[in-house]
Amino acid sequence: MGTLSVTKADHLLWLGRYVERTYTTLRFILHAYDVALDDPLGNWRDQLEELGFREEEENPYTFVRDCLFSPTLPSSIRHSISAAYDNAVTLRDCVGTEAIAYVQMAYDNVGSAETSESPLLDLQAVIDDIMAFRGCIDDYIADDAVRSIIKVGMGIERIDLYTRLNFELERLPQEVHRLASRINRTGIAYDQESFRGVVDMVFDPAFPGNMTYEQLGELLKLDAHIFG
């Protein structure tokens, strides 16, 4: 591929971020929905509010539908996959039609699920498409920098979401380790000090057991500054 313009690198990074945002948010919403059935007043609503979902709706099913399909909520699955799609279609020359097809299918399947009688079942197809996209990157994209930027985008987003949601924090060291193995292969500049700060926090032997709300906020800030 050779030279990547700043615009293209930006699209690659955000393709990775939005694909990951769709995937993790979807998994989390399905999890929250399940919890909500048994515990209507539980913490799940607060956690979804961390993503920007501030609904007055009391019925968990209706609330979750808004989180999934609202065209106006920027954290909805529909919004995230649309943004992933918008980035993907500009990258056909470096990502390839075969790989982009999985983002296209995820986008189409969100649309189908929205009009389905069993959207939460049908959204499994979206998870399948995203996993296929993640998997096919290694096979279809020859350029290491292109692959690495997408994967780094996914990593940055995953760290952001897990931290924001206080969700599966024990997986963060693994995610940061993956990020460390990729970030220098992107060929794009990043804030090394912020990245070192993230590494220090998640590899602290006490992590995540003793994390305060403020410390999670600090971790979020550092993660945001890596490519900020």
């Binding site: 030279t3 990547l4 313009s5 279609v89 056909r92 020359d93 039609t97």
Partner: protein, 438 residues
Amino acid sequence: MAYESLVKYTPKINQQLARYGVKFGIYKNGHFDERLFPFDAIPRVIDADAWDTLERGLIQRVDALNAYLKDVYTEKQAIKDGIIPEHFAFASAGYLPQCEGIVPPKGIFSHISGIDLVEDKDHTWYVLEDNLRIPSGASYPAVARNLCRRCDASTFRDLPIRENRDYPQMLREVMDNVNCGGINVVLTPGRYNSAYFEHAYLAENSGAVLAEPYELFVEDDVLYYGGEDDRQRVGAIYRRTSDEYLDPLCFNHDSLIGVPNLMAAYRAGNVAIINTPGNGAADDKGVYYFVPKMVKYYLGEEPILKNAPTYLPIYKDDMAYVMDNLDKLVIKEVSEAGGYGVVFGSKLSPEDLELFRQRIIDDPRNYIAQEVVDFISLPTYIGGEVVPRKADLRAFVLSGATTRVWPSGLTRYARQAGSSIVNSSQGGGFKDTWVLSR
């Protein structure tokens, strides 16, 4: 029939086309929307003899058009010799004075020419329009062919169907032929262009970089892709933007898009622009009338392909004929494209007919009138049954080291029974075009 085995796969092939994002964009009521381009698996089939005639005619026509473009921007001999009236040549909206005196690399102006044809009921082909600026549509049949081949082994094994999936390779050869040193770039106006899928697809499959205007810059009359620190020289640019948005310093000064000084790099011979700016001087609906004369003048040959019988109201006799027969003719606005500005006199109310009559009298240069060519319908699978639909053919002629015709083409069909409007923007679908080798 050859197609019968494919008909039943039409829905599945369309699903696969959706999977690959084979779409076109359309603006309606100020809103951008992406639509699938409906595909019909029943192909247009052109036998070897008919193709041989078409191919020779298309090469001849495009060679003459290239000769005219070179002439109109340099010597102007055909105008001096009275072959094309001066007021027609230079009053054309597509003629760009900014391109005066520039001869592009290897003297090729129209590298990718899309020639729209129809076949009438006695199997005569008529050229309806020459598209020498940014003709689109070659990617769709190439993608569809790949899917059709997966549906029916025996048809593709037994019939001598010529390959059409090599279009991106042919495009690459055209770009390489005029490349002035550097990478090849497909320049797209961006994500919200109606043919964006095609821009991206052709870049991917020809090995070119897909770039938007702001990813390119000119320094010391050399075009680069990338940024200050990491950049690559561009030797050929397959632009899919209109002339007026290519270079804001040269054309549309109010434009926020385009590559400043691109024309300076081009004028200095440091980059090839495919197709050359200013080609609209030769694909104007009015100049179309003169193409058979160009063939005779530049090539000394009889035209192989016919124009649809056309009248120019600017000529007294033609104006009289048009006025007497307006209700039987097709009226076309010279400055319009994409099926817009086309009106069938037979479908106008008496009031509208009078309105058009007056418009033609007021601005005769802006209109041509043509006899209605009763072109053939092709069997088309719509709504679960095979029905006849009017269809045209856009043939693609590529001018590189030699002039070649892509052995296929975009066959577009009208969705509505009896309609002759085949444009995708107006609901038309497409078919693959099978050219048989024997």
